[in-house]
Amino acid sequence: MFEANDPNAIQLTADGQLRHFLTTEGLPRALLLEILDTADSFVDMGEQQVKKVPLLRGKTVANLFFENSTRTLSTFELAAKRLSADVLNLNINTSSTKKGETLKDTLMTLQAMHSDMFVVRHADSGAAHFIAQHVTPHVAVINAGDGRHAHPTQAMLDMLTIRRHKGAFAPLKVAIVGDILHSRVARSQIHALRTLGVAEIRVIAPKTLLPRHIEALGVRVYTEMAAGLRDVDVIMMLRLQKERMQSALLPNESEFYKLYGLTRAKLTYAKPDAVVMHPGPINRGVEIESEVADGPRSLILDQVTNGIAVRMAVMSKAMSGQLSQRATSDNRSRKV
């Protein structure tokens, strides 16, 4: 009786255009493919002399980063600037104040500055949804990572990287390795891979780093690399944070590296043409051997390039969706 409406429908306009980009979950396959196609053209453009396009000229993009991240912040900033937008960077320190108050108050202050788009990174799962629900109409919200919930732009740049190297998604076996439990990247990747229809998605981790009901997301669980990597086409490594060595999740880094670190030796379990990815920054000697990270099968640097293009694609689509929705509602009120 009390079933909720589709909670991810907030991302789409009435006619199915993207207007917020909060999670890869619940977005139709056609839309994900459009994002990839648009990003493809931006990648090609990135190799040109003129890298800018005027799609977001006159628009203000505010980067609200409640969690520090130079990498992600700079790629979003670059993406916005290549779309000719004006960029506002707000690095907000939440250690001193209660998180909830800061978020709502910050939003109120920002409304007054008339931004057209917020790019949000926050330590609380659901923060991007919260902002999308409370923001003035016609402002687009892009999730740059919320707690453990989602990092949809990272997942999409990973999908783009896979497609540019492997072509079709359908035959691929993809393995995600590492701290799945705490990873918003892994969750977004799993939703995207499922929607795009890969043959198999695997997660490989010790039980302490696996959420208990992860199979329900459509993945097969492995706790060791030999079996988990067999016949795999794409290996997506996750970053292991130092904090996981506390609170009885892992004994130490060297045991993790021995069992789950991607070395040249372990790479041989996978298909001979398997590719290796990592969202960065990499912990050499913890998740991955240097020779693998820098080796011929590694797509890590491509991921970075693709990251800018994917963010450009997502930002321009979301802005376009918001503007067309505003045009529709303006027309409607005029007709009255």
């Binding site: 009390f2 909720a4 209660k98 998180k99 709502k104 609380d124 799962s125 919260f130 329900a216 997301l217």
Partner: protein, 424 residues
Amino acid sequence: MNILISGGRVIDPAQSLDRITDLYVSEGEIRALGEPPQGFQADEVIDARGQIVAPGLVDLCTTLREPGQTRKGTIASETAAAAAGGITTLVVTPDTNPIVETAAVAELIQDRAADIGLARVLPMGALTQGLQGEQLAPLHGLASSGCIAFTNLRRPFGNSQILLRCLEYAATHDLLVVFQAQDAALAANGCMHDDTTSTRLGLNGIPASAETIEVSRCLLLAEQTGVRAHFGQLSCEHSVRLIEAARQRGLQVSADVAIQNLLLTDACVNGFNAAYHLQPPLRSPLDRAGLRQGLVTGTISAICSDHQPHDPIAKQAPFAATEAGMSGLETLLPLSLLLVEQQLLELPQLIAALTLAPARILGLDAGTLQVGSQADICLFDPTAEWCVSEENLRSAGKNTPFLGQTLKGRVSATLMDGRIVFRR
């Protein structure tokens, strides 16, 4: 004041009564059923045709926020809400500020409620000083000052030895201990049930074992000490099985469940709706089924609201940063009636779970319409539909996930001590 409640369907589980008849109230007591007492002159007649006449509801767990957190609610606002919800007796949690660990605070709360006169308020006392789980609170003194039971809420004990001694002391004076069973370490930082939904949402989960481990510990210690024990607001089907097994062994323990856990599941949290941020959390469909079954078999005998009013800002943040709890006094009855509509219980059984059973758990002479008992009465129209809105909620807490929804079943009048404390 002489009041006649006429033509209503009077349901009193204590007497196995369920028939359309008249009820006569005089001087705060129920004088007669059916035929008027000798020389009875009604000062007031309440037309109860088409209505149910039941004992006033007894709510085993509510939070009134006063003293100390009056921006969230006051005894005045919340007892008014209770009266509008047909609830005449409220058992309140000790986590006020200051905590109910001194006679003064216990008496303050009761006096304030008595002055306002809209509902009976029975405080629970803290089991340990400051609810810190280390030192015994003055249980006997608190009991003398009106504390009906003792609890440490969900806060941890320093160790099992301390818990054991608290129970032994309570048993010495035949005091009722209410457990809100949760292992603090397993539940740490959790804000919803640990399952598929929490995994997808990236929210920290509270595994079922956080409750079942503590239920097991408390059952074993209750058995060892012989203390009168009650388990409040169960959320897991496994907990129900543990309690059922204990009862079969002969242990006299009781249990209640909050109405929301009988109707909702963790899937409600999808979309990060903070209105569903609750403690104990909403759990899986299997847990919901187990709780419902427990109610049918009698392992769980009572339903409560677990009312926790909040100011708006408490729910306006990303999910994990919001405060847990929902405002439930005024929705308790219509939501409970759904159990009848869903054919889980018959109406008299439901009413028993809301009145007689909680009264028995507390050892109170209440929850009945027997002649001579205090006239605490709830009149409601089980078919009346109404839309839950901020305007029509009397509680200071508008934090209910049912805002904007249409519910069926509405209180038309409430009497406490033979006085009309609410009339629509």
